[in-house]
Symmetry: C2
Subunit: 283 residues, 2 copies
């Protein structure tokens, strides 16, 4: 059978991937979840029709969400992950023995169950005793917190649907409050290429700049995401992502990676001229 | 009408783009050429079914082919472009008053005519008196040349069909011979992501390493190309692309760009771990 999944990048652009088998398809309380088997990307997790991750390139996304902050502060002990029910971020965090606490706020229990069944290489990390999963709304969870974490990672879906509240000025302010004085917030920051997403990049950046004293954007090649050019936000109360990198300390930890390395660290903050201009417009 | 163009990335992955109008479709002596109008990418030049360039992101590809070498040696005067009948590389080269000679070896005269008609913003640069176009095979053109150019840019199509000879050890050796003692060769180097292309990346890199003393690979985000992660080769007889960059001299030229900047220069040579490993395997 000739079965193709179309991931819509815009109204007039889509990535089509041939599907070998649809393993799972169900509506949860929050969203529609599909798991597909493909030849090129391995298993693909699809949420509300959009690719959330693929087995072939999820390492790029998850390494970039975790190791950049860890190289700036290798002493991070307490981490909050907003979203991240697939376990990819937690798998990367678990590479650091120094991390004591990993709280994961994943609103959708079905997403966790599905990932544990179909993507165990990632999701099995969620079973570790350091990890606590809270099936709550991220904004509600964080509201009462004060000075609790060294690192908050916002592994959010797109800024519509279930994750909408994670893209507000209020939420970034709550993250600031929930962080220690040397705290770092990392967020997936969408793509600068297509017009509608570039507009979201600007709106997010504007709100984060209003909430944190140090804010920089970095980038990575993620072929299964729209345009393949994906941005990440680094926001901090104290650390500059380039000036304060602990290159030797991080390399001494000997963390296994397939994408990130400290020799890349500066490079990923060097944005193309057109992306710099997009961000400067709202700074 | 619902008209979609499919650019095949692999047998099981394709990028589909809605087409507003097919402006041109004809078989030349070398290849099949199409020009499509799209909303998201503007005009698209398609050769043998593959996207060659789009109005929206061709600046990324062409800036990366030209300005990296020019920042390493801003005194470049004599340039050979293999391929490049669309005029994009020449448009970027024309930003340098110091360049005296631009020889373009484009085997297909129809490609040049089509680009002049439908993509004049690029192709009109080909009409300048500094530019000489030779409608010959690139390998044949370069065979008898010795110590002629400061820079050779290989703006080749894919390594099959018309451009096949441009991916051989013999051809890179001929480029070496055609360059001055401080000469630089830049080539489009395919993508490291999909398996078949990653294999081509390795084969090209291996042959170039055998032909030049200094060889480095750099990268850029080109969303309309397969995976969006595109590589470029920097090969040189004398200059190291990072150690020998003339940052101040290049910035003093005040070349207008939308992607390249010298603050990116180091960053684009910092390759992800998996790409480094791919290349090291054949060094």
């Amino acid at each position: 059978m000739d079965l193709w999944f179309n991931d819509e990048h815009t109204d007039t652009v889509k990535l089509s991937i041939k599907v070998e088998e649809q393993f799972f398809s169900q509506q949860s309380s929050e969203q529609h979840i599909d798991v597909l088997q493909t030849r090129e990307f391995g298993k693909i997790l699809v949420v509300d029709g959009d690719i959330m991750l693929t087995e072939k390139d999820e390492f790029i996304y998850h390494e970039l969400l975790v190791h950049v902050a860890m190289a700036v502060n290798p002493n991070i002990k307490e981490v909050l992950v907003i979203g991240g029910g697939d376990g990819g971020v937690v798998r990367e965090l678990m590479k650091y023995d120094s991390i004591d606490i990993i709280d994961v706020v994943e609103i959708d229990p079905l997403l966790v169950d599905v990932c544990k069944k179909y993507l165990p290489e990632m999701a099995s990390s969620l079973d570790h005793e350091k990890v606590h999963i809270y099936h709550e709304d991220g904004v509600r969870f964080i509201r009462s917190l004060d000075d609790e974490y060294d690192l908050i990672i916002i592994d959010s879906p797109n800024p519509y649907g279930a994750g909408e509240g994670l893209f507000t000025r209020e939420f970034y302010g709550l993250c600031h409050k929930a962080l220690h004085d040397n705290g770092i917030m990392i967020n997936q920051h969408e793509s600068p290429f297509y017009r509608d997403e570039a507009f979201m990049v600007q709106r997010m950046h504007q709100k984060i700049v209003q909430s944190f004293p140090i804010v920089k954007v970095y980038q990575g090649f993620i072929p299964s995401y729209p345009s393949g050019h994906w941005l990440f936000g680094f926001a901090s109360k104290a650390y500059h992502p380039l000036d304060d990198i602990k290159e030797e300390a991080w390399n001494a930890l000997d963390i296994p990676t397939r994408y990130y390395a400290t020799r890349l660290h500066k490079g990923i903050f060097a944005l193309p001229v057109y992306v710099e201009e997009l961000l400067k417009d709202v700074e």
